[in-house]
């Protein structure tokens, strides 16, 4: 899953009318998910959230749970906050939607903030293995341990581990047997070089 592009909305309100109403208004105009909570601290039940978030709640709720929300939501993604204002006379001090805003205006305001969240768009991760990584991969498929690979290439075990991590990130393959198969399919090694019964 491409988590960096994932943008979700966390909607917090004790009122089902607000939760359901705002979800209905927003669901057609945003790509991400809308997570509905009655209280901010319910966020603790969602430890697996990834990506960027826009949290929409009343100013009071935001004041109460902003720090908890910041703790729970992944530090890797961006988090923005937006208030729902019922009091039409006060001037909001932060991005907000008013209870009387039209659907179109609410969608516009929400999308404006969502677009400002950093998505790392256009930064395609590199998938080509470097020469050094190919060397590490070749030794790995021969059944060498990290220590043996390090000795063979005159580098530290730490460097080998870091190469292996990069190899897995670039190829999407994590296990040693999976990497062996990758190496054969990409013709980095020849199937006759290894004993497939042992290594796959």
């Amino acid at each position: 899953m491409n988590n960096s592009l994932n943008k979700s909305i966390v909607l917090i309100s004790l009122s089902d009318v607000i939760l359901t109403g705002l979800s209905e208004i927003l669901k057609g105009s945003i790509a991400g998910e809308i997570i509905q909570l009655r209280r901010g601290d319910e966020i603790i039940d969602f430890p697996g959230l990834v990506g960027n978030f826009l949290v929409i709640a009343t100013p009071e709720e935001l004041e109460k749970s902003t720090s908890l929300i910041r703790q729970i939501l992944p530090a890797t993604g961006g988090v923005q906050f937006m208030a729902i204002c019922f009091d039409l006379t006060s001037v909001p001090t932060m991005p907000s939607i008013s209870i009387n805003d039209s659907s179109a205006l609410i969608c516009y305001k929400v999308n404006e903030i969502l677009n400002s969240l950093d998505t790392n768009q256009g930064k395609e991760p590199d998938t080509e293995l470097t020469r050094r990584e190919i060397e590490v991969l070749q030794l790995l498929t021969k059944g060498y341990s990290n220590k043996e690979i390090a000795d063979h290439l005159f580098v530290s075990t730490h460097t080998v581990i870091s190469h292996r991590k990069n190899i897995s990130e670039k190829t999407g393959i994590k296990s040693a047997s999976g990497l062996t198969m990758y190496a054969i399919l990409k013709k980095i090694i020849d199937v006759t070089d290894i004993n497939p019964d042992e290594l796959i």
Partner: protein, 243 residues
């Protein structure tokens, strides 16, 4: 995203997320249930309502995992669910995967080396997986159930201590992430790197089954690693404090 609750109609739950079909089966429900709500059917079938609701929500929504509430469920209920999941893997999903992978890899009469490698990778994965399941069922689960019994009935403590002199779940904690990794690798290899010398439709069917397997397995591991194991550690501590 809206969590399901006891008032949700079970039919709408399934229409919304059909990957829950095997989950409700193993919780004790068969199809043909009409328009009943979750509460009604749980009462009818004697299923623990909270366990049912939390289990389907955790399965449906990857980010949701209310650890504190899940830790309240009884050990025997959790193990019963896990054993039924194992049965589903061993009796249905794995044989089905075996059948589908053969259909897809052997479609090409000039059997290619590449296809054969995939087959080998899959069989190795399966072998490890089945060993892992058997280990849990023959060694780990019986240990946990007995530990649970000792806590409830301290009279049998001496007997338990004799059978498990240095009891500790830490020795059992096994390589779940390893299993998940290999399944993930298999998917990536087929999608990204295997030359498409096979029938695409059959390949797709195999992959679809694999995706389903993966989702189920991830949830299974999540329940074992974050619910069952912490619970057992609690029980071990209780036992230790009585010594």
């Amino acid at each position: 995203m809206e969590l399901f609750n006891e008032h949700s109609k079970l039919a709408s739950v399934i229409l919304k997320d059909h990957s829950l079909l095997p989950v409700i089966n193993r919780l004790g429900i068969k199809l043909g249930f009409g328009d009943v709500t979750i509460r009604t059917i749980c009462e009818e079938k004697g299923i623990d309502l909270n366990f049912f609701v939390e289990t389907i929500n955790v399965f449906h929504y990857e980010a949701y995992f209310p650890e504190k509430r899940l830790l309240d469920f009884s050990v025997s209920m959790v193990i019963d669910y896990l054993v039924k999941t194992h049965q589903y893997y061993v009796n249905y999903l794995i044989p089905e995967n075996d059948r589908l992978i053969e259909l897809f890899l052997s479609a090409d009469p000039d059997e290619s080396t590449e296809n054969d490698l995939v087959r080998k990778f899959y069989s190795k994965f399966k072998e490890e997986f089945v060993i892992h399941i058997h280990f849990e069922e023959r060694v780990m689960f019986p240990y946990i159930l007995e530990l649970n019994r000792v806590i409830e009935n301290p009279a049998s403590r001496a007997q338990f201590k004799q059978k498990y002199p240095d009891y500790s779940i830490s020795g059992f904690e096994k390589e779940h992430s390893n299993m998940d990794d290999k399944m993930d690798d298999l998917k990536n290899i087929i999608i990204k790197y295997l030359p498409p010398n096979y029938d695409q439709n059959r390949g797709n069917t195999f992959l679809a089954n694999l995706f389903m397997f993966e989702k189920d397995l991830k949830n299974h591991s999540r329940i074992e690693d974050h619910i069952l194991i912490p619970k057992v550690k609690q029980l071990e501590m209780v036992l230790q404090s009585h010594e």
